[in-house]
Each structure stands twice: as structure tokens, then as C-alpha cells.
């Protein structure tokens, strides 16, 4: 059930990327999509009422959440950061060149 929320979040991001004309809003849309995917990935590793996956000698560990998706999502967030930083820096350069954030006015390329 909770997975469908991820789908909705992903849909919101995708809508934002496709329908919006402002470059900054497109970047935000991409970020929302990324978060939706990361959330989905973490949810796959989650157990209901699970404990943190720390190996302990005294206490027997049971019903722990899967730590691997968390590690992977951490990497994915870093990758997303790199992409977003680059997107924003290109957006700044585009604003310097064209004087607008509106993609319908940025169309030197055709065909």
C-alpha cells in the first residue's frame, strides 16, 4: 500500500519535468523523482517494527531491517547530488546567456 505513495511521488516529479516550463521547476521535479526512487528502495529493505542492523554479542539480533538498501540509497543520493549540482550550474549559465528560465524561449536548436 505504501509503495503506491512512492508511485504517486514519482508521478508528481515526472509531471513536473514534463509539464513545467521553468528550468528551476524541472530541476525540482527531477529531484522529486529521485527521492521517490530512493524512498522505494529503502522501503524494500524495511521490516515492520524492525531494529537497527547492529551486530551485538550479548543480545540476539532478530527482525532487523536490511541495511544494504540504505547503503545503496546513500550512494544514489550522492550521485543525485552530483547531477543536481551540474544541472543548477548549467541553469545559471543558461540564465546568463538567454536571460530567461523559460524553456519555450530557449530554442536555438531545431530539427
Amino acid at each position: 500500500m505504501i509503495y503506491s505513495l512512492c508511485l504517486i511521488l514519482f508521478g508528481v516529479g515526472l509531471y513536473c519535468v514534463i509539464a513545467k516550463r521553468n528550468i528551476v521547476k524541472i530541476i525540482i521535479g527531477l529531484a522529486i523523482m529521485e527521492y521517490a526512487v530512493n524512498l522505494l528502495f529503502v522501503l524494500f529493505g524495511y521490516r515492520l517494527n524492525g531494529s537497527a542492523p547492529i551486530l551485538d554479542k550479548i543480545q540476539e539480533t532478530k527482525n532487523i531491517v536490511d541495511p544494504l538498501p540504505q547503503a545503496l540509497v546513500l550512494t544514489a543520493i550522492v550521485i543525485g547530488l552530483a547531477t543536481t549540482a551540474l544541472l543548477v550550474s548549467v541553469a545559471i549559465r543558461i540564465y546568463e546567456k538567454y536571460g530567461t528560465f523559460d524553456i519555450s524561449k530557449i530554442k536555438k536548436l531545431r530539427g
Binding site: V17, I23, F41, I79, A82, T83, K97, L109, G111
Partner: protein, 498 residues
Amino acid sequence: MNHNLIPLFVIIPLAGTFLISLLGKRVRRLPDTLSNLCTLLLLALSLWCIPAVKASGMIVYKVGGWVPPIGICMVIDGLTCFMLVIVNVISFLVTLYAIRYMEAYTSKEHFHTLLLLMIAGMNGVVVSGDLFNLFVFVEIASVASYALVAFGTEHEELEASFKYMVMGSIAASLILIGIALLYAQTSTLNMADMARVLRAHSSPKVVLFVSILFLAGFGLKAAIVPFHWWLPDAHPAAPAPISAMLSGLLIKTLGVYALVRIVFNILDPTRILPVFLFLGALSMLVGVFLAIGQWDFKRLLAYHSISQVGYIILGIGLGTPLGILGGLFHLLNHSIFKSLLFLNSGAVVYTTGTRDLQELGGLREKMPVTSNTCLIASMSIAGIPPFNGFWSKLIIIIACIQAGHPVYALAAVVASIMTLASFMKVQKYGFFGALKERWKGIKEVPFTMALSMVILSLLCITTGLLVIPGVAEHFLKSAADVLVNGKEYATLVFESVK
């Protein structure tokens, strides 16, 4: 057999990146020298792989000594070795070319930093035996390529790069969802282990959904037709050596290689292959129809990349041994002649400053090396015997007919004829005809640029020999076998780590 050399494919370019970004500003000749040295070393390493793979079949390196189902591994098999040779041959020639070409731009050290980072990413994609690692390397190469497309920082470059980045980020999200679903199904990330678990028990619906996600994600990176429209903007906007890298290598390693590796070796290809066939044929035709009307030299070449990737996908999508062989052979040939063509267009831009075919004309008299190598490349891409493009297209067409798809064979023939027509246009307007007054003063390009073009054109002629039985056929065949016997991948990996 020393498997400890495998990580060097990633370490060497990464070390180069680090040193160039650290010292590039202080030592003037360092960026060029170091980047050429790195790619030369990589070339030697990748050539060493050929006999090594022939001797032992598969080489696995265990990162940190952890045994694969738990730890990460790097795998070199026939297909990997094939791709490594392609990537490193082209990147060496491109860095050789870039020495003089990039003098027109400022901040050469940034260029070489990003270029080596991209090579590290591509080598990493190819050698990785772990699905999430593959994703990370895909993103390393992509981020470097986004920055390289915007390298000129003019209006067109920035716009093209932004488009490319948006598409690339969507593709990355789709791929990550696919990986997440596969992880949820199999609880492992090792590619071989994943394949083993999926063979034992899997729900066909999830597998199909995941293959569609990967097809969309990697299809975006490979510019297969419904996902193609960023490519004709992005590839021409980059500096010519980067266009050659993007069209010749990036769309193949990040797109085609990653897609077929996952679909054939991890998932089940049978249900997704008809889609491959259809999209391949569609790309072939749409790409070439859009290309024929272009007057911008580099844009025309970019549209041809879409069309030629269509051939590769069509050949591999047939799923028969001959079709896969033809598809991979075309992948090799396309990376050679398309890089050569982009380097030719770079040479034209270097001397004349324009890439509009209507303004050019008669360059043959003044630039014999460029125009002759361009003629060879044009004939290769158009499929004129005895150049390499002819043999691979012939194999694909024969394989289509053998597999009972005469319509696709016909489409391949039509696309080939259209390719010939559009390259006759390039030759006629660009290189033949009367020399225009304003180009009287131009000279041939410098030696290193000419050298790399000549080597590529010699490769165009000689790689055609790979199909003749007895001449290095092992190289191509062992690559095709990996896909033909896709299900054996898992067993082979686990046997070689024991």
C-alpha cells in the same frame, strides 16, 4: 593468469583524472602527456585481455578478497574483453587527436580530467560484475559526459547539455527502480547470483516489468528511437573528440552493452526480444530519414548514430547466434567509422570554422588526408564492400532472413541505401566539387590529428577481415557466445571464483 590487473582498468584513468586536476594548471604539458599515457596503458592492458580470455575463458577479480555472492566482483569474459578493446582503442586515438584540436579551447586540463573520468566510467561499466556498481559507473560516465557536452558554454551547448541531463536523470531513475525491484526479488546484487536466483524461482511478471524498465532506462542512454531526441542536440554540441567518444562509445557501453548484458545474462530475453527487433528497425529507419535532410555535418552524423544503433539492436534482438554476431560486429565497426567521421568533421571545423555543408566544397584539393579518410568512413557506414560496414550489415540481413523476418531485412536494406544517399551528399557538398574562394588559404590538419584519422581508416579496412574464418575470429565469436549462451554466465562466474 594474473587477475589482479583487472581493477587497473578503472584505477588508471581515475588516477589520471586526479593528477591532472591537481597539477594540470601548474605543469603546462602535463594534461596532454598524462592523458595520452593513461589511454596508451589502457590500450595495452585491453589487448593483453584477448589472449588471457582465450586461455582461461573467464577472469574474475574479487574486490577486497570477498567471495562474490557477498562481495563485489569484476568479471572479464569474451564480451567484456571485446568492449574493452573497442573503448580503449577509440579513446587512445581520441586523446591523440585532442592534443592539437583542443588548443582552440581554454582550460585543457578540465577537458582531460572529464575525458579520463568518462573513460573510467565506461571501463567500469564493462568490467563490473555487480549490478549496483554498474549503475554507479554508468552515472560516473554520464555526469562526465553532461559536463563535456556543455564544454563550449555557448548558447547551443548549454541548451543541448540541459536537455541531455534531464533525459539522463530520468533514465537513471528508471534504471534504479529496476535495480530496486530486482533486489527485492532476489536479495542480492551480484549479477551472477541474481541470474541464479531468478532461474530457480521468479515471477515472470516482475521480470518482464524490470526488463521494460531497463529497456526504457538504457534505451534512453543508447538513444533507441522513442527515446532518441536528445542525441542530435547533444552529440554535435560537444567538441569533436567528445562527439566521437559519445557517438562511438558512450551510447554503446552505457546503452547497448549494459542492456544486453542484463537482459541476456540476468533476465530472460525471450519475451523482450520482439520489442528489440521492432525498436531496432524503427530506429534504423527514423534515424536515416531524419539524417538525409540535414545540412549541419555533425548533426547529420548524430542522426546516423541513431540509425546505426538500430542495426545493432536489430541484430542482437534476433537472438540467433548469427544475428548476435552481426549485431556485435556492427557495434565494433560503427564505433570505428563513426568516431572517424566525427574526427573528420572536427578537422573540417578546425580548418574552416564551419560545419554547414552548403558553405563547404572542394576541400579535397586542400585537405587530402581528411577527405580520403572521410571517403573511407563514408563508404564503410554506407556498406560498400570491402569495407567493414558491408560485412556486418550483410550478416545482419542474412540473419534476419534466416530467422524468418524478411520485413526487417528489407528495412535494413532500405536504411542502408538511404545511408549511402546521405553520405554521397556529404562527399559531394563537402569534399568534391570546385574549391570556394574563401577556402583557398586553408591547410591540412596537424600531424597528430591526421595520424589518428589514418589509423582509424586503416582499422575500417582491416576489421572487415574479422569475419574470415581463421583470422582472429575467436575475438568476435567469444563475445557473441556470451550472449548466445546467456544462461551459462552465472555458472561460469561461480566456477571461476572457486
